[in-house]
């Protein structure tokens, strides 16, 4: 041990280097004896001292005994032990009073360790007021100032007090030693570096983990040594910045260097001030490696941020989904595995929730709706294999009380594992559909009814048609029969009339001898009436012929003026008798007509007869004009009684005269004009009348110049 000290002393020439060497030496010492020996050896090597001992206080036994020494007889050294309870003992006195006491001339045998040589006693303690750890006796007595010896005493005190907590006390008591070892093992086992420093920042205890960071053995590389140095610096700086009260825990972060790997290590420094009755106040520092923790924290922060973002997205998605579901007009209800409603949209809420302040009816309706719905959904739940269920539910709108028949479609929502997670039910209001169906039904019914009506109407129409056809046939037959009958009648009438007319004419002619004037007059009347009767019969026959279609047309070429002359000559007796002036106006360039001469003549005769019959005074004019190149008009103009305008068409009807009373003033069947118009029509011509009452009438016959068959 002494050899080593010398070696140290020779290696470090400078005082500071020597001191550092001592501190390192002390640091390496694990027991008080070697530490004390090192301190004594160092003093002898670096100061004028030639011998020295260290007596340690034994608080358990209450004694002060030598444990190390140099330049002293070892036997003497072992004997040197005295009680601390003796206040008269000069060394005990020195232990309690002052830190450095010099003894000159040993009068007391109790302190004659160095013989009579004066010596200096230096108290070894942590602080001046702290209980002494022991006493360093150095001889010869040192001259003041005792700076160096004091520094060594302090260094030794520090070393010893460090050991005291680690070993010193345990050596005193086996049980305590075991506990100490256990404690030491515990703090060594701790993966976090744990250190105990005094209030000056000097390291007193460090566990294995801390030593790795803060101490460097001699044989380590320069890099590691530098790292340890840096770590110590950082640690001291961190501690010095932490102002702590007793029992207080300070927390700060500390960046250190891993001496073996050179990587950065981030620690959380937890410092607590503890006060120890023996060692005084100190600071317990626990360094928690948070390098990984920091990374983990960062990771967690990132994850959290990501989670938040995802959550936001999910919320947005859910909001969108809610909006979507709410915007669906059909009620949508989501139920869980138990059949409890977990979500519904607004339309569903209308049916299944009671509005605040709603009456009892509404509540009852909602309960009923709920019951209907639940039984529907439980129907699906009770079947294990069916995935959907469709059905109709009779719900009621609680707000209006109106029935809402709905079609419900429920579907099971299954997880990836096929477990039932929810049931989604969509209700579709069928009111409109039902109404539409009813309307359709009504429409169909109405349509069928209509169809039936149409069918029956069609059948009726067909029946009527058939009837009409038969009637037409019958009518035709009847008409033919009538014509035949009339023809027969006219024949039967004609035969006697022939005799009447014949005998009258003969008698008037004087066949039966000369007649007296009254006889002649009366016979003439018979003759006249018979002729009139013959006219009637002929006219009736004409009508019958025309109606029966047995009036053939015979087209011939003829001259109108000649025809007119013929007519006038035939009616000459009547014209003369009427005393009227008859004028005929003909264009000079009148072409030849091609038509049925006999019928044209019949019409003109009829018109002229009428004019003569209905005209009392004035004149009658027959005027012929050509109309364009294809037609001709024959006008019979009179100055007679005229015809009211409303009767213009009536006069052309069968058996019509304007005056149809039995005692009418003018004779005639009333068939004449009707026959004329029919004949004109057969000749592709027209017969019209224009008249003013009391002034006269104009009958106009228009005929084509050439009648084509």
């Amino acid at each position: 041990m002494a050899r080593e000290s010398v070696a140290v002393a020779t290696r470090f020439s400078g005082a500071a280097d020597a001191k550092l060497a001592l501190l390192e030496e002390l640091q390496r010492c694990t027991d008080p004896v070697s530490a004390a020996q090192a301190a004594i050896d160092w003093l002898i090597a670096h100061t004028p001292a030639r011998r020295g001992v260290f007596a340690a206080t034994d608080n358990v036994r209450g004694t002060l005994g030598c444990i190390a020494g140099a330049g002293v007889n070892p036997k003497q050294l072992k004997r040197f032990c005295f009680s601390l309870d003796d206040p008269t003992h000069p060394l005990v006195n020195a232990l309690t009073n002052g830190s450095v006491v010099s003894f000159h001339g040993a009068r007391d045998s109790r302190v004659s360790l160095f013989g009579n040589e004066p010596f200096t006693a230096v108290k070894v303690a942590r602080g001046e007021d702290d209980p002494a750890l022991g006493l360093m006796l150095i001889g010869p007595a040192l001259e003041p100032p005792h700076t160096t010896v004091r520094w060594v005493a302090d260094a030794l005190a520090l070393s010893l007090s460090r050991m005291a907590t680690r070993e010193g006390l345990m050596e005193e008591d086996p049980r305590l030693r075991r506990e100490h070892a256990l404690l030491f093992n515990i703090i060594n086992a701790a993966t976090d570096p744990i250190m105990f420093t005094n209030m000056d920042g000097q390291l007193i205890i460090a566990n294995a983990r801390a030593e790795l960071l803060f101490t460097a053995p001699d044989d380590v590389s320069e890099g590691r040594r530098r790292a340890v140095q840096l770590n110590n610096m950082f640690f001291s700086a961190a501690l010095s910045r932490t102002t702590l009260g007793e029992g207080e825990a300070g927390r700060r972060e500390l960046l250190l260097v891993d001496p073996t790997e050179g990587s950065d290590l981030l620690f959380e420094l937890l410092s607590t001030v503890v006060s120890d009755p023996h060692e005084g106040a100190g600071i317990v520092s626990i360094l928690r490696n948070i390098t990984d923790l920091r990374q983990a924290t960062r990771q967690i922060d990132e994850n959290y941020a990501r989670l938040r973002a995802a959550e936001g997205e999910i919320r947005a998605e859910r909001d969108r989904l809610n909006l979507l579901i709410d915007s669906v007009a059909d009620p949508i209800i989501v139920t869980d595995q138990e059949g409890e409603i977990s979500l519904m949209n607004n339309p569903a809420e209308r049916l299944f929730t009671v509005v605040a302040g709603a009456g009892e009816d509404a509540q009852r309706i909602v309960r009923a709706n709920d019951a209907h719905f639940t039984s529907f959904v439980s129907g699906l739940l009770s079947t294990g294999w069916e995935l959907t269920r469709r059905g109709e539910i009779a719900l009621v709108d609680p707000n209006t009380g109106k029935a809402v028949p709905v079609e419900a479609l429920a579907a099971k929502m299954l997880s990836d594992l096929g477990e039932l997670t929810a049931i989604v039910t969509i209700l579709h209001d069928r009111t409109e559909a039902i109404e539409r169906a009813q309307l359709y039904e009504q429409l169909k019914l109405a349509s069928e009814e209509l169809e039936g009506k149409v069918q029956s109407a069609t059948a009726e129409l067909a029946r009527q048609n058939e009837l009409l056809r038969r009637q037409a046939l019958e009518l035709e037959q009847a008409s033919a029969a009538k014509s035949q009958f009339l023809a027969n009648v006219s024949h039967e009438l004609r035969t006697p009339l022939n005799a009447i007319l014949g005998y009258a004419a003969m008698t008037l002619q004087g066949v039966s001898g000369e007649l007296m004037a009254p006889q002649r007059r009366n016979l003439s009347r018979i003759d006249a009436n018979a002729r009139h009767l013959l006219t009637l019969i002929n006219e009736i026959l004409d009508i019958t012929r025309i109606e029966a279609g047995r009036m053939p047309i015979q087209v011939v070429a003829f001259n109108l003026p000649e025809l007119l002359r013929e007519v006038i000559s035939e009616l000459e007796p009547i014209i003369v008798k009427s005393g009227l002036e008859l004028t005929t106006r003909l264009p000079s360039d009148l072409p030849t007509l091609r038509s049925d001469r006999q019928k044209v003549k019949q019409i003109v005769v009829n018109l002229l007869s009428n004019a003569l019959k209905f005209t009392q005074k004035g004149n009658i004019t027959i005027r012929v004009k050509t109309v364009g190149a294809r037609a001709v008009t024959i006008e019979v103009i009179d100055t007679g009684i005229g015809i009211p305008k409303q009767d213009f068409e009536k006069i052309f009807e069968d058996f019509r005269q304007v005056d149809s009373t039995p005692r009418r003033a003018y004779g005639g069947t009333g068939l004449g004009l009707s026959i004329c118009r029919r004949l004109a029509s057969m000749l592709r011509g027209t017969l019209k009348v224009d008249s003013s009452l009391g002034k006269g009438s104009t009958f106009t016959l228009t005929l084509p110049l050439v009648l084509k068959k």
Binding site: G502, Y503, Q509
Partner: protein
């Protein structure tokens, strides 16, 4: 009065006595000789026997009507040259057409005044006499 043999003989055929006698009386009044028959059968008999200059034939008659009688007369060489003037009360055209196709030379529709009838008879007889004369 002219000699009876020289005057033309007219056979008046009609089932209606009043008409038959009326025309007969007027024909005699006008200087004709007159024979009468009441139906078609009688008319054919008398026509063959008397060889009249003209037959005045009513169409609607019992036993054999005017159409049939005329057809037979015209089919017989002894009587076919005797002109037949038909009288019909039927004004329908069908009657006069069928009468003409039966062989009637002239068809007159009743009523026909005696005076008008004589005109027609004279016209027919004059025509045949002229034909005879030229022949």
């Amino acid at each position: 009065m002219p000699k009876a043999k020289d005057e033309p003989l007219v056979l008046v055929v009609d089932d209606f006595a009043d008409a038959r006698e009326m025309y007969g009386e007027y024909l005699k009044f006008c200087g004709f000789r007159v024979a009468e028959a009441q139906n078609g059968v009688e008319a054919i008999e008398k026509a063959k026997k008397l060889k009249p200059d003209l037959i005045l034939m009513d169409l609607s008659m019992p036993i054999i009507d005017g159409w049939e009688a005329t057809r037979r007369l015209k089919a017989d060489a002894a009587t076919k040259s005797i002109p037949v003037v038909a009288l019909t009360g039927h004004a329908m055209t069908g009657h006069s057409d069928s009468a003409k196709s039966a062989g009637c030379d002239v068809v007159i529709t009743k009523p026909c005044l005696p005076h008008d009838l004589i005109k027609q008879i004279r016209k027919v007889i004059g025509g045949t006499q002229k034909k005879k004369a030229t022949a």
